[in-house]
Symmetry: C2
Subunit: 198 residues, 2 copies
């Protein structure tokens, strides 16, 4: 591959990233080659480094740079709580919010007959194993408030019944900053029925 | 730097690319680490390869992987025409359209007093040198149809007067597929005054 072919191929690879298309990939590559030392070289080095170290956590499915991720390895996060998320992106969102002190379990998707995702495609047996192995008392199903997410939550809850663990879902209601006027009926119904004393 | 830090730093570097923000950079990195072999490793390899080979063409300012770019090196593109563009991105746009058979000259910007870009910041002396060195008979100023672009076009045209070369600008008019109803007054005025026999 000569240099020009490498540039073309680089644009093609960048264009396959989520959020980038052919046009923005070209702009991004142009930006990189114009700022080779400040941008392109560090990015190449970081990608190489991450590519050599990254793998899924054998325990929870988080992205890790060792067999067990930092969260699973941290003793102070073994508080008896496991937060079940659909995807690593959701785990990262929870961590950014700094609202959860326990461990996670990445399901790897939601049940979705249309997309041909069944129970066998999700990491449910491993979750069941962890409940006894890690003395878990509480499972929080932090799945999306969508039909697939809620179907999956109910399925997982039923699968965990025999373990005797407490299973929770996330609360429904008004998002912070939400305006009544813009809320859909389902949100308003949930916010009213789950009303809290002030 | 441990693996987790490398991932964070990779997200930060990706977020600095045009068209990506922190959120889309996280999504892109997550996508890459999930598809390490198919996406991340090839991208790292391509970036490294491009980083080692890429540099500006000493003749025209195009991005090259040798001292002289492929277009300047191709004998059949020495047809006496030079197309002057503001930026390498514009050169790529012309090449994609496959409408120009001559060589290019990248100005490196447009005159812009507000952004403190003056004549000394543009590659005009080199352009003047090339006109005699490459026996150029025609210069096409393919600059943006903006105030800065047109100011620059007039400035460059005046700078080239002594060379005796013919200087052209791009035609103005209706874009292909353009609807009269949506055109601004300036476009309609140009399209009418530069009307063509059918
Ligand atoms: Zn883990
Ligand atoms: Zn060149």
């Amino acid at each position: 591959m000569d240099g020009q072919e490498a540039i073309e191929e680089l644009i093609a690879q960048m264009a396959r990233l989520p959020g980038l298309g052919p046009r923005s990939a070209r702009r991004a590559v142009l930006h990189l080659v114009k700022k080779r030392d400040a941008r392109l070289v560090p990015l190449a080095r970081l990608l190489t480094e991450v590519g050599q170290s990254v793998r899924p956590c054998l325990n929870c499915g988080n992205i890790a740079t060792a067999d067990i991720c930092g969260i699973c390895a941290a003793g102070d996060r073994a508080n008896g709580q496991i937060c079940v998320v659909e995807d690593v992106a959701d785990l990262w969102a929870m961590e950014r919010a700094q609202v959860f002190k326990g461990r996670y379990h990445v399901l790897g998707g939601t049940l979705s007959p249309l997309d041909d995702v069944g129970p066998d495609d999700l990491a449910i047996p491993k979750l069941r194993d962890r409940i006894s192995a890690e003395a878990v008392t509480e499972v929080i199903l932090a799945l999306n408030a969508t039909v697939d997410g809620q179907t999956t939550a109910h399925y997982v809850a039923r699968e965990l019944e025999a373990t005797g663990v407490q299973v929770f879902g996330l609360a429904r209601g008004m998002p912070v900053g939400g305006e009544l006027d813009y809320m859909d009926d389902g949100t308003l119904r949930a916010a009213l029925s789950q009303r809290q004393p002030i």
